[in-house]
């Protein structure tokens, strides 16, 4: 068989230098010594239906078993941080929309929170509620989309994805009605939000939130007990607790490994200490747990939304004395972080007293959650790699920045 030579010639083959540039590879599994087998090198991506954007995994396969996997990214790199450092504080907000383009509201919040810490801005009561409402709607739509994508990766021909998008559309319509754009909301401002939401909008949101549990129920009926789903996800892509902590994995992925760490509870930023909600925890840390974390968190988001929509007070959304434009913070630095749907989204700002941030850093949860992709995927088949990657929930806009 001329298998080996064919592999080397093949169009998607990695260049011969791969071994040299990548070193021995720390995590490499040794191919089966007894049965001498040929290693097949496959580049999954950057143009691949299941890499969630332009993301590449350089995979070495023994049969269909993965013996090495190296994530490669940067295809979408635009040096977001440099752009923000060359612009005023306000001008960075629309750029944060484009980080994780599914969750612009939470991205705004993370950045705005960091600036508020850096300058010391107080936030009006009503704004805090609006922010919570927006963040939880965002979390809901992100999680529903993720579950859809995950099932799509598993080959469910788009049905769950379409159901997820059906509901997501309604949430995006709400975003558009208040902020003017469906995805690139650019809604939050330092110490406030750009415009107040109308009572009609709140009423509409209440009605939608009332309908959302029905959607989660439908989703669960469709999939929760599905034997194929369970067989495909249980015990696959296991992330042990210790590794998850050490690798700085955050968000639903961390909680699926059984670590109780939700920044909404830990930092109590905004007004999250006023709401009653629970933090679901997984036990096995496999793909199924990660999937279920998202489903359960959707329910908790609904609970928060119901409370917030009931309690939201009247009042101003922005202190007119707060300077939004032409901000010149004192020399210093601040790190602000929130629980974005993907994990801990942090913004680290250093001010040198000028109009532009001296250093603007995004702590992207997606990128850091990818650190342990190889550890999770070794020994799995290609099909499981795709599913495991799907359960990490990455958005390349944020990974590559």
């Amino acid at each position: 068989m001329s298998g080996k030579s064919m592999m080397e010639e093949s169009a998607i083959g990695l260049d011969e230098q791969m071994g040299a540039t990548y070193g021995a590879g720390r995590h490499t599994l040794k191919p089966d010594a007894e049965h001498e087998s040929q290693i097949l090198e496959v580049a999954i991506g950057p143009q691949h239906p299941s890499t969630h954007g332009v993301f590449r995994m350089d995979v070495q396969l023994d049969g269909e078993r993965v013996v090495r996997l190296k994530p490669v990214f940067g295809y979408l790199h635009r040096n977001h941080e440099k752009i923000a450092e060359n612009a005023a504080y306000l001008a960075a907000i629309p750029y944060t929309d484009r980080l994780d383009y599914l969750c612009s509201m939470t991205n705004n919040w993370g950045y705005v929170l960091a600036v508020e810490k850096l300058v010391g801005i107080a936030v009006p009561e009503r704004t805090e509620y609006i922010r919570v409402i927006m963040a939880e709607l965002t979390r809901f739509q992100n999680h529903s989309a993720l579950v859809g994508f995950l099932l799509q990766d598993m080959g469910a021909s788009g049905t769950p994805l379409m159901y997820a998008f059906r509901e997501r559309e309604k949430i995006l319509d709400l975003f558009e009605a208040v902020s003017g754009a469906r995805m690139m909301c650019n809604y939050l401002r330092f110490g406030g939000v750009r415009v107040d939401c109308t009572p009609e909008w709140l009423e509409e949101t209440r009605q939608l939130v009332g309908r959302l549990p029905r959607f989660v129920d439908e989703f669960e009926r469709l999939l929760r007990g599905n034997e194929i789903l369970m067989a495909r996800t249980q015990g696959v892509g296991v992330l042990p607790r210790e590794l998850a902590v050490s690798a700085g994995v955050t968000g639903p992925m961390l909680r699926a490994s059984g670590v109780n760490y939700d920044i909404r509870k830990v930092d109590r930023y905004g007004i999250y200490d006023r709401f009653k909600f629970r933090v679901p925890l997984g036990e096995h840390g496999d793909v199924y747990d990660r999937y279920m974390m998202r489903v359960l968190e959707m329910r908790e988001s609904i609970a928060i939304l119901e409370q917030a929509l009931k309690e939201i007070p009247d009042g101003p959304v922005q202190d007119p004395k707060t300077k939004v434009r032409g901000l010149r913070p004192k020399v210093g630095e601040a790190y602000g972080r929130i629980e974005s749907p993907k994990g801990e989204l942090g913004f680290y700002l250093i001010s040198d007293g000028t109009m532009n941030p001296y250093r603007y850093r995004v702590r992207p949860p997606c990128l850091i959650n990818l650190t342990i992709l190889e550890d999770m995927c070794l020994g799995l088949s290609v099909a499981d790699v795709v599913v495991t990657l799907g359960s990490v929930d990455i958005v390349m806009g944020e990974v590559d920045r």
Binding site: H77, N79, G120, G248, Y261, K330, E333, A334, S351
Partner: protein, 223 residues
């Protein structure tokens, strides 16, 4: 000087307290508190290179601090600064009536060498406190751009240190897999440095449309 991040259990994780513990726990460790003037009051600790890994391990395993979660790792570029100051010097000046000592104002330029810095934001997942901020500084921005890697202590630093290597050019000694991460392998410069000059664009850029005299502008004007 209280940090805003005193956890509910009551462990003081302010920079001062950490410094005290470090000096006691890691012999020879030099830790300096770097003050932060902003209202966030997140003060940080500057560590020396030799004891950085040891200190990090100490903080991670310390029964009270348990800083097991290294959240954010990033580089900061502090370029060489030229400080111009006016100094009064006495000089011997040739006057009309012979040499004479005279007070002369002179501008003197001093070059303050820059450095690259990495900042680590630590939290504790177990104790739920933080942030504790560590800083490491390189000797200079040229050859002495080496820093000890903290990836052996916290795995989460792996990609982020690679990013700092890629974008800032900080070399982390002891990093298991130090390659470029966002830029491509053949790229030579470090784009996040303050003195970075982008290569000539071969693609139309945003200014093409707006800048006066550009082809698009002329086309529009010709209409």
């Amino acid at each position: 000087m209280s940090s805003p991040s005193i956890d509910p259990v009551g462990v003081d994780v302010s920079a001062e307290a950490i410094r005290a513990a470090l000096v006691k726990g890691v012999p020879g460790c030099e830790a300096t508190v770097v003050e932060n003037g902003s209202p966030s009051a997140q003060h940080s600790l500057l560590l020396d290179h030799e004891h950085a890994v040891e200190a990090a391990t100490f903080l991670r395993d310390h029964a009270e601090f348990r800083l097991d979660f290294c959240s954010n790792v990033t580089g900061v570029d502090w370029p060489d600064k030229e400080v111009t100051e006016k100094v009064k010097v006495t000089k011997v000046v040739d006057g009309p009536d012979g040499p004479k000592e005279q007070q002369v104002e002179e501008t003197r330029k001093t070059l303050i060498p820059g450095y690259l810095e990495t900042v680590y934001h630590l939290f504790s997942m177990e104790k739920k406190h933080g942030p504790v901020i560590l800083r490491l500084r390189t000797a200079n921005r040229g050859e002495g751009n080496h820093l000890p890697s903290l990836t052996p202590v916290w795995r989460s630093a792996e990609f982020q240190e690679r990013e700092a290597f890629d974008l800032f050019g900080i070399v982390f000694d002891g990093h298991p897999d130090l390659r470029r991460i966002l830029m491509w392998e053949d790229f030579t410069d470090h784009p996040m440095r303050k003195d970075y000059v982008p290569p000539e664009e071969d693609e139309p850029v945003m200014d093409d449309g707006c800048a006066p005299g550009s082809s698009a502008e002329q086309g529009a004007a010709g209409q």
